[in-house]
Amino acid sequence: MAEVRLNNLTKRFGSVTVIPELDLTVPDGSFTVLVGPSGCGKSTLLRIIAGLETPTEGSVEIGGADVTREEPSNRGISMVFQSYALYPHMTVAQNIDFGLRLSKTPAAEREERVAEAARILSLEPLLDRKPGQLSGGQRQRVAIGRSIVRQPKVFLFDEPLSNLDAALRSQMRVELAQLHKSITTTMIYVTHDQVEAMTLADQIVVMNAGRIEQVGAPMELYDKPQSEFVAAFIGSPKMNLLPGKAVQHDEVETVGIRPEHIRADTEDGDWPGTATIVEHLGADTMAHVKADELGDLIVRLPGHTRLSAGDRVFLTPERENLHLFGKDGRRMELNV
């Protein structure tokens, strides 16, 4: 188990700066998710932690030791790739066993550890198969199994669920959460999917163009996004972002309000508009409203709300749940 610290990290590929000066602490035993749009440098950061890339400047510490110049295999990490990176010519057992064989671990211990990993991941019936004979979810579990047997101090995951279908993805998400509960090792998990980030993390790191926008617990990011970018990125459906004129304040450039923090009425309210699409989802009704002054909004209403497309609606935001952002895109704490 170990804390991971990145100090003053910079990464350039030739003349392109992918990560400009970044500091981050991943607490011991945490499940930290790096989330951000594609190409923002998440994989690069993870690969620097793994030792597969060297930082242009700055240092990487794992468990208090500076490992910036250390080989990947000496860092006490393991990594699960999006492509699984299994060896097609080896059986499941040999794949899991690979690192232990290389490190000349005694046969008895190897067998024990492989059996333990297979038990945790329900891979026992598959140990003699080749990866080609497994489904996507099973391959993913083998890749995780290969990570577990090394008993690393830090687990690294690079978009491990991206190649799975939706149903399998949510199932694997639960399994990963359980895995973290049972082995309590530090995990750093990269994804572009904010739902994965919200459900898995106890610390989320939102990245944008190589920079960290905000670090915090999922609900912290949800309740108090520190920038417009985070506000727009975290939450589904997305937060409504409206022009500053929605509130009477000169410095406010953008006003954010989540769909569930808006009340709708047929007679009276602050923002008059017309419903364009109404989706009845059962428990909720999602209404798309074109507000006369402010443009399009999404509103989350109770399941049995009587509303149909073309109806006039009057919207009223919950004042205490408005998010205000200045010209620089940063959060402003104001009373309006």
Partner: protein
């Protein structure tokens, strides 16, 4: 799928009609004959003809009339030069498999990554293969020349007696093996490079994380991943070795004392240049039989099964 079983149960006439209407059979009828005719005219007929000539004592002029049965084959089997030629062909196969392929693989592993320097090395290593065989032979005959060649200069520099390698019964064929190795390793190297570039980088990095050294990555990840390419390259090496001809003619022409013949130069020298077309045909039949046997056997054993 129900549609497949349907089409299997359908009477032939119906199947043919359906095939015609969806254009598949039509395209086969149009596209197959040219290839078939060319193959028959220029491959099958000459083969069958030489199979026929092999039973005659015939100088290539007029009709073969002098039927001799298996006499040509008996003469070949009893001819000591043929034994040497067959052994030399065997040596070429052995050197190709044991020396050339590992050497090509080593170079491929060094330069398979896509960098500008590697591109230059790739071109340099591939040059001998592009060069015409005869030109290569001439270049090397200069290198090996005992009077004014490179070996002569080296021998002189060491104050040694000047060497005539290509005229030396012990060393001439070693020189030829060297030239063959030099000429064709680039071809095998290219096959390996293409295959190595297809190996997933994630697999290699995963192995590095697991603690594999560079050599272990090669042994446990890269070589297993390019096994099919190695099988193909070995196949080409063997079939190519059976056909070695144009490297030898300009270098030694089979000499000294017929010690550097291969089966094909043997055929050429004792069949064609001496106007024993029947005899040459018989050598050709033997060579063809060996090649086909090896090809079929090899495909069955090494290239048939594919691990998925």
């Amino acid at each position: 799928m129900p549609s497949t079983t349907d089409s299997q149960r359908m009477p032939l006439a119906d199947r043919l009609r359906r095939g015609l209407s969806n254009g598949r059979i039509t395209s086969v009828l149009i596209l197959l004959p040219p290839a078939l005719i060319l193959f028959t005219l220029f491959v099958m007929l000459p083969l069958l003809e030489s199979g026929y000539y092999a039973f005659f004592d015939w100088n290539g002029y007029g009709e073969p009339t002098d039927y001799v049965g298996l006499e040509n084959f008996e003469r070949i089997v009893g001819h000591s030069v043929f034994h040497t030629a067959a052994a030399n062909t065997g040596k070429i196969i052995a050197v190709s498999l044991i020396v050339q392929m590992p050497f090509a693989l080593l170079l491929a592993l060094l330069i398979y990554r896509k960098t500008p320097t590697n591109a230059v090395f790739r071109l340099i290593f591939f040059l001998p293969y592009i060069l015409a065989e005869v030109a290569a032979g001439l270049i090397w005959s200069f290198v090996f020349d005992g009077n004014y060649g490179v070996t002569a200069s080296i021998a002189e520099a060491f104050g040694a007696e000047s060497l005539f390698i290509l005229a030396d019964r012990d060393w001439a064929f070693v020189a030829i093996l060297t030239v063959i190795l030099w000429k064709y390793f680039g071809f095998h190297m290219m096959i390996y490079i293409a295959a190595l570039q297809g190996v997933s980088n994630d697999q290699i990095e995963a192995a590095r994380i697991e603690g594999a050294t560079r050599l272990q990555v090669v042994r446990y990840v890269q070589i297993p991943a390019i096994k099919p390419a190695i099988a193909v390259s070995a196949f080409f090496a063997i079939i190519g070795a059976l056909q070695v001809f144009d490297v030898i003619i300009p270098l030694t022409n089979g000499g000294p004392s017929n010690t550097t013949h291969t089966i094909v130069t043997y055929l050429y020298t004792f069949g064609l240049t001496r106007l024993n077309i029947g005899f040459g045909s018989a050598v050709g039949v033997i060579l063809f039989a060996v090649a086909v046997t090896i090809a079929v056997f090899y495909q069955r054993v090494f290239m048939g099964r594919s691990e998925s």
